[in-house]
Amino acid sequence: MTELIDIIFLCIGGAFGALARWILAQKFDTPTSPLPCGTLAANILAAALLGAVAARLPELSASATAANAAASTAARAMRLFAEIGFCASLSTFSSFAFQLFEMLRAGKIKTPLLYVASTFGGGVACFALVFYLC
């Protein structure tokens, strides 16, 4: 089922997403800022993009059983590239959880709470907003 072209699209999406997140993190995750803004921005941006993708592109399973084979292949490729590749790679849970762990280890209570609230609040709100706007 999985073809080589699927894997290529996935890899390209994943590579660009990771690069974008890394650049954001390098630029904005400075020790002086109260929150790791780069990772926060990457996560919220990815959630917003995923909102657009979920609203606009057909589901993977639906596109696979579509009547037009060529259109379904293109839709599947776009879906793989955008959702499973780029958006998922742009967002990260490992950095987020590890930063929370570091904050907790440093004995902070308010900062991790603020970080969790801003990430989940911003992420869910942006996803919902973009989903309904698109």
Binding site: C11, G14, P36, L50, M103, G107
Partner: protein, 191 residues
């Protein structure tokens, strides 16, 4: 310092001849960090690295690291795709990926002085970042909120948070065990 991503650990620009010395400094920093968790290490370096981070992002020095991040991201996405194809695209699969990815993140971050900058970038920012996903969690939470299933939404978010922080802790501890064993061994100096 604590807020930086682990890969953001930078050292002041040294000529190529000083590589060994720089690696020793890195190992020493990592050791100091493990013995004194609350002491902020290399505060002098932090100011320098902040200046340089704002100065230029993708200079020739950073290029191998960026390439490693790209490769790691592609590998991580591919690994998650394989897991999802076999276990199904469900919230539980994402949870599993997040937990295992965060465990590796904690492990690699603890050993960052030993692994070298490029390997750490490949593993943490690349592979772990591509393997774990926040957007999927946000999507699931938003869908459950929209359908009024607040308890499932809260359960998903809280289980992700709790298990992942626990996994980061366990990975960090495991990395610490590796650091200690290699310190006591006579053939310790390796990159």
């Amino acid at each position: 310092m604590r807020f930086k991503k682990p890969t953001a650990q930078k050292f002041p620009s040294t000529p190529r001849a000083d590589t060994a010395e720089r690696d020793n400094a890195a190992a020493h920093t990592a050791t100091a960090y493990t013995t004194h968790p609350n002491a902020a290490p290399n505060t002098a370096d932090t100011a320098t690295s902040t200046c340089r981070a704002t100065h230029s992002l993708l200079n020739a020095e950073k290029l191998p690291q960026a390439l490693c991040v790209c490769l790691g991201g592609a590998a991580g996405v591919l690994a998650r795709f394989c897991v999802c194809e076999n276990l199904g695209y469900a919230a539980a699969t994402i949870l599993l990926c997040n937990i295992s990815g965060t465990f590796l993140m904690g492990f690699a971050s603890r050993l960052r002085g030993k692994l070298g900058k490029n390997t750490t970038a490949f593993l943490t920012a690349g592979f772990c970042g591509g393997f774990t996903v926040f957007a999927g969690v946000a999507k699931f939470a938003a869908q459950k909120l929209a359908s009024g299933e607040f308890d499932i939404c809260a359960l998903d978010i809280l289980s992700n948070l709790a298990f992942c922080i626990l996994a980061a802790f366990l990975g960090y501890k495991l990395g610490g065990a590796f650091t200690r064993t290699s310190q006591h061994s006579p053939t310790a100096p390796e990159k």
